[in-house]
């Protein structure tokens, strides 16, 4: 549906994107993650035909963004980071203008009613955009991106400025839309990507540094996994039982457990699965399990590791 091949974009002498290639299949939700100035918005501007790549190619739905921009624009609904609104217009006037500009004609009324409902704009339809709250401005802009029922949605920071309830509402809307749409969304709120996106693209300093599912990314940055377990047992027996398990690299005791309970973090290589052997050890030693959990890196931690390691590579290169 969307394909970028070796895309580079320079603003003057400053490179914004360097040799970025990826493709997005129909129906996928892709999260674009990266620090400020990483090149996320530039990539989105190229896909939406607002800006041209310095080199490389970008096709959307089979159309080249440079050769056939009007066909590309017809397929895309775009929410830019700047939230482009005409402050002198009423909300319904703005949506009517977008409907006309998107050539909706006979279909307009039906789409207008749907988008007003979906974006929760009914209470403010007759208000001037300049007096709307930030949340309503964001929703009005999201409505303009959805009004023509596009196949592809490009959302640059879609939940920026929204309160937690509104964020949940927008997340649900994106999830509902994902049934028949291809969506690329960028955000700084990292948990949002993990809850909505099927796939995450991490961009840093204009380079695509990671591409995969949430679990893939975590595996990419963690050399070893860990589990936490606490049981009712003697410390010595526990240590002996755990050390017997094949693949265990390290046992780090938890000193905060209550008397009679022993616990610790068990580290093992990311490609090894020790859980069956650990289960076996629990049964064999007749341990009463108090707490057991698989420990995972948060998205923030993996994001920091990914961007930091790519920056260091860039710095040493």
């Amino acid at each position: 549906m969307i394909e970028l091949k070796n895309v580079c974009k320079n603003y003057g002498l400053t490179p914004a994107l360097t040799d970025v290639s990826f493709s997005v299949k129909k129906g996928q939700i892709v999260g674009f993650v990266g620090p400020n100035g990483a090149g996320k918005s530039t990539a989105m501007k190229i896909i939406t035909t607002y800006t041209a790549p310095t080199s490389g190619s970008c096709t959307v739905g089979g159309y080249d963004v440079m050769k056939d921009p009007l066909s590309v624009r017809q397929m895309i609904g775009y929410l830019p980071e700047t939230v482009p609104l005409y402050y002198d217009m009423l909300v319904h006037e703005y949506l009517e203008f977008i409907g006309q500009a998107r050539h909706l004609n006979g279909n307009f009324k039906q789409r207008y009613e749907w988008v007003v409902e979906a974006a929760g704009l009914a209470p403010v339809l007759n208000r001037k955009i300049s007096v709307l709250s930030k949340g309503y401005k964001q929703r009005t802009c999201l409505a303009q991106a959805l009004i023509h029922d596009p196949d592809i949605l490009i959302l640059d920071e879609p939940t920026s400025g929204l309160d937690p309830l509104q964020i949940i509402g927008i997340r649900n809307l994106i999830r509902n839309l994902s049934r028949d749409k291809t969506i690329i969304l960028s955000t700084h709120i990292l948990p949002e990507v993990s809850t909505v996106a099927d796939r995450i693209l991490v961009v840093n300093e204009g380079h695509l540094v990671a591409d995969g599912s949430f679990d893939d990314l975590i595996q990419q940055v963690t050399k070893r996994n860990s589990v936490y377990i606490s049981v009712k047992a003697a410390k010595k027996d526990f240590q002996l039982g755990i050390k017997k398990i094949k693949g265990v690299e390290e046992l780090e005791f938890d000193e905060s457990t209550p008397r009679g309970v022993v616990g610790g973090h068990i580290y093992f290589p990311s490609k090894t699965d020790i859980l069956p052997d650990l289960n076996h050890a629990i049964r064999e030693n007749n341990w009463d399990v108090v707490e057991f959990s698989r420990e995972r890196l948060s998205l923030e931690e993996s994001f920091i590791r990914l961007t930091r390691s790519s920056s260091q590579e860039g710095g040493t290169a």
């Binding site: 501007k45 939406t48 035909t49 607002y50 800006t51 041209a52 310095t54 009007l70 624009r73 017809q74 895309i76 775009y78 830019p80 700047t82 939230v83 482009p84 609104l85 005409y86 402050y87 002198d88 217009m89 006037e93 203008f97 977008i98 006309q100 500009a101 998107r102 050539h103 303009q144």
Partner: protein, 242 residues
Amino acid sequence: MNDVAIILKRELKQYFYSPIAYVFCIIFIVLNASIYMFHFFFFGNADMRAFFSTLPLILGLIFIPAISMRLWSEDYKLGTVELLLTLPIRTEAIVLGKYLAGLIFYLVGLAGTLTIPILLVFLGKPDIGPIFGGYFGAIMLGAFFLAVGIFISGFFSDQIVSLIITSMACGFLVLVGWQYVPMVIDGWIPGLGSFLYKYVGVTRHFNDIERGVIDFKSIIYFLSFTALFIYLNAKALERRKY
């Protein structure tokens, strides 16, 4: 609805919603009328020569830059340029829609000065030919200056900068059309002043039309330069992508 008409309608609404636009319109009418009335009562001539002789400067330095300054600069400031240029509408149609909205607003302002010829008809027996010629020339002149203004507005996100640069550009076009300014330029660089006077200066062409001499060369001059700047505006916007 036609793409040009969609943009035109939106832009026109924005003009008429804006109090600043009304202020400039009123200033234009009052300024023109007062300069003219002074001349009318002082010399007692029932013609509009004085009105049309000051019109190029008033249009070029104040009124047209005030109309054109927001055409693109405001979109850059609000970020709506990103919205407009990702709509399934050709850039040329967007430029034309914006340009025509500015032109219509200018024509409304110009129509406000029609009180002067109406007054003349009641008070005396003016020669209608030069008045028609003058208004025709004013339309041509305004259309040309507006094309220059929209082109310049396409480069700046600050409306005031856009206004000042347009004033300077239109002022230059007026000045090099006066006979003695090219003579001074010729003194510095021989031939340049005459070239500018003959091919670039706007005043000579406007004066021809205003006198009632409908010279096709002058009409072609206005139409071709107007079309050129509208075209250049669309090309410059496309070029911004790179």
